[in-house]
């Protein structure tokens, strides 16, 4: 048997990963718990049994698919477990070894569907494990180094759950690309529907509304059906965020150990669901935030004790759905951000005027500026020289926003708001210089009619009074790279976190659900455009990145004040 495509079940590789990746992850999670319990002197036999059961299943499944390297790795971990079954005294000493194995296992299983696997890391683990068993077997009374005593432990919970009680498969897995294709087709159908709606409206206007009632009704019913279809389609793409959270147990432990921190991870809201595309692209920014929190945010156990905190720090990952968005937070109870330091750096970078006195929130928002990393040290394991600006960018590409709050000495909390789906956007259509633009409705605080007198020119920047607060105002054309016009009739107040900013436009064209199309990156685009859409008349409209607009212009304004 080898890892080639000659395996009779090769077509089930994706299914293998779908079933075994969570199982490998569970092996890691279980070991993290076991390590703690063993250190406390609790043999935790039942949990240990669960671990052995998972390894056994992984071994069998890998064997069926001809994934011999993974099979050997799982088998070897089973051997270590069997050895530890005889020698409970060695369990605490062996947990590190097993966790390393679990790390390799998670990685290899996750990669299994993407071509042939290299056995380097698994073989390295296997020789390490053999050495461990051999070294510990010398001079002991135990007879065999590989005691083969497998019991039939009952496993709690079920990894299947998708089979109905009548024995009929009630869930099927579908290739994600097919779902993408379906979504694409749905988008085109929706655009065609919009076209139809415009054509009917034109007809009705031209014929003064006579005799089109049936057509109107049919169209309305079609639109309702499309709406339901959209809901159903989106629901098939939802994946629970637990799949992302699941990676963090091992990671937190690994990073904490490497940096001599003691950290407990708490997660909540793992059942919250998000579009698959969002889930796929969320892992990386979250990994950065969590590793940053551990390395830079958390104090050493000794330091924590001196300041009266529990020596074990806590990092919390949480998710909760709020209407059509999901709010994700990464919280730590570490030393908190230092506003003085951020401000100092921002001044050095020329991102803020030397004499400006920004509020605390404004200072924290500067942490996301490019080049502003609060530590000089780049960590090999986690820092990777990646700053918060990169994290913020990834979140923005997902149509989300991020902000940070911090209490010196108490901790830091990053809050991200993400759309449930990336495919259809509830938008406000506006007109600027004869072009139409779509603004994400979720970012619009208010749209109102304005007169020239309402806009005050201060230091070359527009300001206006809105709901009792002074907010900056910019002309839409200026933001989009054109030149500002003398007067516009409307102002759209957009928000990003606590920020508000007015955008002056010629007209408001109403709410519309638009199908988001990614822009070809080779075309180049102003940073304030996040994508494009096709409207009912077949013309293209750009989608404005309102969050970006609110933030980008604010810093530009500060820089401009310098000169």
């Amino acid at each position: 048997m080898n890892d080639d495509a000659g395996n009779p079940f090769a077509e089930l590789l994706e299914e293998y990963v779908a079933e075994c990746a969570p199982l490998a992850q569970a092996v890691g999670d279980t070991l993290v718990t076991l390590e703690r319990r063993w250190e406390e002197g609790d043999p935790a036999d039942q949990l240990f049994g669960t671990l052995k059961g998972s390894l056994h299943t992984l071994k069998g499944n890998s064997a069926m698919l001809g994934l011999t390297a993974i099979q050997a790795l799982a088998h070897c971990m089973e051997d270590v477990c069997a050895f530890l079954g005889e020698r409970p005294d060695l369990r605490p000493a062996a947990s590190g070894l097993l966790l390393r194995g679990a790390g390799v296992l998670v990685e290899m299983v996750g990669r299994a569907a993407r071509g042939p696997l290299s056995a380097d890391r698994s073989e390295h683990f296997i020789s390490e494990a053999r050495e461990f068993i051999q070294a510990e077997s010398v001079g002991t009374e135990t007879s065999a180094p590989y005691p083969e005593r497998r019991r039939f432990e009952r496993r709690t919970g079920s990894e299947v759950g998708e089979l109905g009680s009548d024995g009929v498969v009630s869930t099927i897995r579908v290739d994600a690309r097919r779902l993408d294709g379906l979504l694409e087709t749905f988008g085109e159908t929706m655009i065609a529907g919009l076209g139809l709606r415009e054509a009917v409206r034109d007809l009705a206007i031209r014929h003064r509304g006579a005799g089109f009632t049936d057509l109107e009704h049919a169209l309305t019913s079609l639109e309702k059906t499309l709406k339901r279809l959209e809901g159903a389609l989106m629901a098939t793409r939802l994946v629970s965020i637990a799949t992302v959270f699941g990676r963090f147990n091992l990671l937190v432990r690994e990073v904490a150990n490497a940096h001599e921190k003691r950290v407990g991870l708490v997660t909540s809201g793992g059942e919250t669901q998000l579009d698959k595309t969002v889930i796929d692209r969320l892992g990386e920014p979250l990994v950065h935030l969590v590793t940053n929190a551990i390395i830079h945010g958390l104090e050493s156990p000794a330091e924590r004790e001196r300041s009266g905190k529990p020596s074990e720090a806590t990092v919390t990952l949480s998710a909760v759905q709020r209407s059509d968005r999901v709010i994700l937070t990464v919280t730590d109870d570490g030393r908190g951000l230092d506003p003085e330091r951020i401000l100092h750096k921002a001044r050095q970078l020329g991102a803020v005027a030397a004499d400006a006195t920004p509020s605390r929130e404004e200072v924290f928002a500067m942490a996301f500026l490019p080049g502003l990393s609060t530590t000089e040290r780049v960590s090999a394991l986690a820092g990777r020289g990646v700053g918060l600006d990169v994290v913020a960018n990834s979140i923005r590409t997902l149509g989300g926003s991020i902000e940070v709050a911090s209490e010196p000495g108490k901790g830091t909390k990053f809050t991200m708001s993400l759309p449930l789906t990336l495919a259809v956007l509830r938008s406000l259509l506006v007109a600027v210089d004869g072009e139409r633009y779509a603004l994400p409705l979720g970012d619009v605080a208010e749209s109102l009619r304005v007169t020239n007198e309402a806009i005050h020119e201060i230091d070359g920047h527009g300001m206006m009074l809105w709901r009792g607060q002074v907010i900056p105002v910019s002309d839409a054309a200026e933001v989009l790279g054109g030149s500002a016009r003398a007067s516009r009739n409307y102002c759209v107040v957009v928000r990003s976190g606590a920020r508000r900013r007015g955008m002056l436009v010629d007209g408001l064209l109403g709410h519309q659900d638009v199908v988001v199309k990614a822009l070809d990156p080779s075309l180049g685009r102003p940073p304030t455009i996040s994508g494009a859409t096709i409207l009912g008349d077949g013309r293209v409209a750009c989608i404005l990145d309102t969050a970006r607009f609110a933030e980008l212009r604010a810093t530009e304004a500060s820089t401009a004040t310098l000169s």
């Binding site: 009779p8 089930l12 293998y16």
Partner: protein
């Protein structure tokens, strides 16, 4: 046999159910009906109500009720003793296989198995008239 042959698969792994579906979709076994159960308890319920089952593929390690418990219960109740049950094990479980046979398993199938090995088992049972 004029009616479609019926097989029961008892396994807690979705992946394995799909493997059986692949095997039973082509070749000599094409056209068979597969009953699926995700643990011994569900499997036993289907086994009780489907006397027409030609053969059972029973995984050893499962939650709720494992393969050995399935076999032991079946023997104590003397339920459909003519239906051959194949215990599905992994390479290094000779001891388990012995216990399985003692508990009434007709044969065992070791993972990793190939479609040919599985088909051969079915044909062997038919040839010997294990089930008439």
């Amino acid at each position: 046999m004029s009616a479609k042959p019926v097989f029961l698969v008892v396994d807690d792994s979705r992946l394995h159910h799909q493997m059986y579906m692949l095997v039973f979709a082509k070749g000599a076994l094409a056209g068979s009906t597969l009953l699926h159960a995700k643990n011994g308890r569900e499997g036993y319920a289907l086994f009780t109500t489907h006397p027409e089952i030609e053969m059972v593929f029973l995984d050893l390690n499962m939650p709720e009720m494992n393969g050995l418990e399935f076999l032991e219960r079946r023997r104590s109740e003397n339920l459909h003793p003519h239906i051959p049950v194949v215990l599905v094990t992994t390479e290094d479980s000779a001891e388990d296989e012995a216990r399985g046979r003692a508990a009434g398993a007709w044969e065992y199938l070791r993972k990793p198995f190939t479609p040919a090995q599985l088909t051969e088992l079915v044909e062997r049972a038919r040839a010997r008239g294990v089930r008439t």
